[in-house]
Subunit: 192 residues, 2 copies
DNA sequence: CGCCGAGTTGAACTGAATCAAGAAACGTGG
DNA sequence: CCACGTTTCTTGATTCAGTTCAACTCGGCG
């Protein structure tokens, strides 16, 4: 259950086995089945979630009822609504599992306690966010000023593993295009 | 020269005057005139820059020579190419001043030394990035699935002060639309 | 004074959305 | 394990927002 956390930590900072046990204790395990929600629009986001197994995504819903995917999280990624988490305001996002999933939740209170207990954890947190920022930036770059086809090609190149696991309408939503357009693009580009 | 840094720090963490003096010493002042570059495509980004005065923006250039604005930084904001900074790879971005500016540069080496010298600074760094992430996310939300007009309205609402200082072609580039389209939108929306 | 970049305006064109309808895949219960 | 309903995906026809191309204005700045 804690393998992913362990690996993730090991990449960034060195912890003694005792420290790791200490860290572990602050995370709350949780399982979600496919189509269950971790967060619903209007609720305040209380924790960030590390995906140990499975896959989730976050999205907002606009006035016309259209979904807009914000983030996908596979094994090893964190997902949450950072805005709501930091400000305490109700979230505008939904976070939903699109596969059966196992998560480790870190509440803000636990995070703060953990930071006091294991100061080196701060470095880990910072690096996580740095990575998330860079990933988001790449997404912006791969979207802005690009045609639907180029966006798809970009995603195909950056995260091929993702595409294999995702239903198409989520891909389309993530790319900011319609299902129909994506379908047409795919029929022309032999699915490598 | 260090007022902005001082205020920025004060918001996030408490430092004694002595600690602040210590922190200051790691930042390198630099002035840029309008249209001068802080970073050019192909160079490795060595530092992040806090804007004490003035305004800069970062952008990439695509195959067809079109600019795509990534970020604007006014007083109090940091700007850099985090990707290049973290990986050491050559940057794909340019960072240019669009007003005469005064900056405080923090090299990665200095940052690391500073983190050792003043561990509390790590918290500040983390919070900076958290904010940058949230800001970027809002941009994505304000762009994806929105019409040109809605994007402009969103920006007008979120950062009205920015719009007043920016040349229009940069606004257009940031919004991912053409100058012409922006011009037409503005002619219909009386500039509040 | 004249030039050049920035902004405006108009007309034609086009990539992608929308509308519509059918085919395939999926899962749920009998 | 099959039948049925629901959701996902595909394909075609039409429409429209925004780009592109082009010409013209305006406001600096050398």
């Amino acid at each position: 259950m804690y393998e992913v956390l362990q690996q993730s930590l090991a990449k960034e900072i060195n912890l003694t086995p005792e420290e790791f046990e200490q860290v572990k204790a602050f995370f709350i395990p949780k399982k979600l089945r496919k189509n269950q929600f971790l967060l619903q629009e209007g609720d305040v986001c209380r924790y960030s979630a590390l995906v140990e197994k499975g896959a989730l995504y976050s999205y907002s819903t606009d006035e016309k009822g259209a979904k807009h995917v914000v983030q996908f999280a596979l094994e090893g990624s964190f997902i949450s609504d950072l805005f709501s988490l930091l400000t305490g305001e109700p979230s505008k996002l939904n976070i939903e599992a699109f596969e059966d999933s196992e998560l480790l939740l870190l509440t803000q209170e636990n995070r703060d306690r953990l930071l006091s207990a294991v100061p080196r954890f701060e470095t880990y947190m910072r690096q996580l966010i740095e990575r998330a920022y860079v990933a988001l930036l790449r997404r912006v770059e791969g979207t802005m000023g690009r045609t639907a086809e180029e966006r798809y090609a970009h995603l195909l190149q950056e995260r091929p593993h993702l595409l294999a696991r995702l239903p198409q309408h989520l891909i389309a939503s993530y790319l900011g295009i319609t299902r129909e357009t994506l379908s047409r693009i795919r029929s022309q580009t032999p699915t490598r």
